[in-house]
């Protein structure tokens, strides 16, 4: 097999996370075949088992699976918000940086990395935004942690981001509570982009939105991907969303990655029984 490129931004190896004490039967009684990630004997949830993936700069990778498949756990581990039990998350700054294992960063550096190099958009805006602060303040948070200390410059950059995400700039000082669901996703995207992150994590960003609003948010994400050539990891239970944005896709089931491949191959020639079920249900 050819090894055509080592040019990756993120390389995840053997990432595992479990909740609960664990018992000798856990791995036997859970997984895609067992159809559950929770051990019936000890109650431990094997939320993510030995996940591996790599991301090239500028690429969009989709992660698809039902709720409880472990896709959100995987995303939260990549967001450095959930600490894995084992594994490594190697990161190489585009342009030939020395790879670092993000899991070995101390709390302070991890926090800075998360702020400066990662951006995340949650399904529920209240997870990503502080509803007590203005929209501008929310977007500014990343800039402030990156030590921007000039209100004028912060507001200029915030306005720029709001314009880029098609938000009314004159509402910069309004409270998020006065914004619609679709607009709040835009605010989250604007905030995520504020630090010009290397990797954007999108967690079910259009679930729960009206169809027409969903479409516009997806258009925005696609446009930004084009313009900024930003690397994205897109988690969704909706194959339609994945198909529109991701060129490679990972399929998760009961804590395991059961299949990964080019998105069109996953759609047209799915290998794993679960993927076949997923594709046949979507069409």
């Amino acid at each position: 097999m050819e090894r055509p490129t080592d040019d990756w931004l993120l390389r995840v190896e053997g990432l595992s996370k479990r909740y609960g004490p664990g018992c000798p039967s856990c791995s036997r009684l859970t997984g895609p075949e067992a159809g559950t990630s929770q051990c019936p004997r000890c109650g431990t949830v094997l939320a993510c088992v030995a996940a591996g993936l790599s991301l090239r700069p500028g690429e969009v990778l989709g992660i698809v699976g039902e709720s409880g498949s472990g896709k959100s756990t995987l995303l939260q581990m990549l967001n450095l918000a959930v600490k894995p039990d084992s594994g490594a998350i190697w990161y190489a700054e585009p342009g030939g940086g020395t790879p670092i294992d993000l899991l070995r960063l101390n709390a302070y550096s991890a926090r800075r990395f998360r702020n400066d190099r990662l951006g995340i958009v949650h399904q529920r805006p209240e997870l990503g935004l502080n509803m007590h602060f203005s929209v501008g303040g929310n977007v500014a948070e990343k800039l402030l942690l990156a030590e921007w200390r000039h209100v004028g410059k912060i507001r200029a950059r915030t306005s720029e981001l709001m314009a880029q995400t098609e938000l009314p700039v004159e509402r910069i000082d309004d409270a998020p509570g006065t914004f619609s669901g679709g607009m709040l996703q835009r605010v989250q995207i604007a905030k995520a982009l504020a630090s010009r992150p290397a990797l954007l994590l999108l967690d079910e960003v259009t679930s729960g939105l009206d169809l027409s609003v969903q479409a516009r948010v997806l258009d925005l994400i696609r446009r930004i991907q084009w313009e900024e050539q930003i690397t994205m990891l897109l988690v969704s239970h909706d194959l339609g969303v994945i198909r529109q944005l991701a060129r490679r896709t990972i399929v998760m089931k009961s804590g395991h990655i059961v299949e990964s491949g080019l998105t069109d191959q996953i759609m047209e020639d799915p290998q794993h029984p679960y993927t076949q079920l997923l594709v046949s249900s979507a069409l």
Binding site: Y19, G20, Q38, P40, R41, C42, G43, T44, V45
Partner: protein, 390 residues
């Protein structure tokens, strides 16, 4: 220069203290004696003791007298005294099983092993003022003493059981209906007088903090959690009040030696419990524990309800919207009466400096507001003038 700021000074403070002292006696009535307070204001003394976290009935009576009946002030006096005492030794863990009960009730079963014992209960009293109490004399005292003897005779327990009852919780636990206690009981308990609370707090810290909390605060929190801002569904497993023997390990032999007994209230509340989400253990009831010095039933029950709610909150087994009573930090950091009253009262202290700083900031904010208004106005004017071509 003719300007001298108003200043308190030592003189004023001393005079204020003297005034307080004099005011108490200025009505000319007979000064209260401590035994009177101890015997006739039992609940005030109990409260001073459990909130002051010191078992000393006569000192508590003194505190009640000195505080002129203010319960928080009385408990404060006791606590400030307690801190100056040297620690001789720690008692062995005392168990409510050994309590010589004056009163013992359960709401979970009609009949319980050992039976229900109402004892001295105000619960069923019709709340009518009794004018005759205003004119009690020695004869009344004699009559009451005689009747007390009769009542004691009537309620005399069978010779086999001298006031020791089996516990309802033990029965439930034997039937595997209760979740096991959250902490390892062998672990050295947290000492609130030697360590600052930090969160998450061990259960022993929680129980200590609750035991010395203000009765009213605990009642409010517990009430909120059962009324509508929480998921608590308490049932009173058992409430007992009586005399609890206190033992220490003999310094030479290590054997337990009873050094006396204290009056105490103990409460166990069971609540609709769910098994913890990720566990194959069958669902069980949750047990909350409450304890006070003296007779303090509402506080012991409130404490038990809150203990149960907080245990469930930590285990993640509460369902539905949970209110502030399920927030351990919120409950424990705000229910100490002495801390809460001290800080609330501290706003009586001078704040000239901070208020001056506040004034300056307010001035700036008002200037900003005025400027914004002016800009808004001029924009409006500009709009109207452009709309009407001249």
């Amino acid at each position: 220069m003719g300007y001298i700021a108003a200043r308190g000074g030592s003189e004023a403070i001393l005079r204020a203290e003297e005034l307080v002292h004099c005011l108490r006696l200025s009505g000319g009535s007979t000064p209260l004696l401590l035994p009177q307070i101890r015997d006739q204001l039992r609940h005030a003394v109990s409260r001073a003791m459990h909130e002051g976290a010191l078992y000393a009935p006569l000192l508590a009576a003194l505190a009640v007298k000195q505080a002129e009946g203010d319960s928080i002030e009385a408990s404060f006096l006791l606590r400030a005294y307690r801190t100056t005492l040297s620690r001789v030794m720690a008692t062995l863990p005392a168990s409510g099983r050994e309590m010589a009960c004056l009163r013992r009730i359960s709401a979970s079963f009609k009949d319980i092993p050992g039976g229900q014992m109402l004892g001295p209960a105000q619960d069923y009293q019709v709340r009518l003022l009794q004018p005759l109490l205003a004119q009690e004399d020695d004869q009344d005292v004699a009559r009451a003493l005689a009747r007390y003897q009769e009542l004691v005779e009537l309620g005399q327990p069978r010779p086999t059981a001298v006031g020791h009852f089996p516990k309802v919780a033990d029965y439930l636990r034997a039937e595997q209906l209760l979740v096991p206690p959250p902490d390892d009981p062998l672990e050295e308990p947290f000492d609130l007088t030697r360590q600052a609370l930090s969160f998450p707090a061990p259960r022993s810290a929680r129980l200590q903090a609750l035991a010395q909390s203000d009765t009213g605060s605990l009642m409010t929190f517990a009430y909120s959690s059962v009324r509508g801002y929480g998921d608590a569904h308490p049932t009173l497993a058992e409430l007992r009040y009586g005399y609890l023997p206190i033992r220490v390990a003999h310094p030479l032999t290590g054997l337990p030696v009873t050094i006396g007994e204290i009056e105490a209230t103990e409460c166990e509340i069971i609540s609709k419990a769910h098994s913890v989400a990720q566990s194959d253990a069958p669902p069980r009831f949750n047990l909350g524990y409450g304890f006070t010095f003296g007779q303090g039933e509402v506080k012991a029950m409130s404490m038990a309800i809150l203990d149960s709610v907080l245990s469930q909150a930590r285990a993640g087994s509460l369902s539905g919207e949970s209110g502030p009573a399920a927030n351990e930090e919120f409950v424990l950091l705000h229910s100490d009466g002495i801390e809460a009253s001290g800080f609330t009262a501290h706003y009586k202290l001078p704040h000239y400096v901070t208020f001056e700083a506040d004034l300056r900031v307010l001035e700036r904010a008002r200037d900003h507001h005025a400027a914004t208004q002016e800009r808004r106005l001029s924009r409006l004017v500009a709009q109207t003038t452009t709309e009407e071509p001249s």
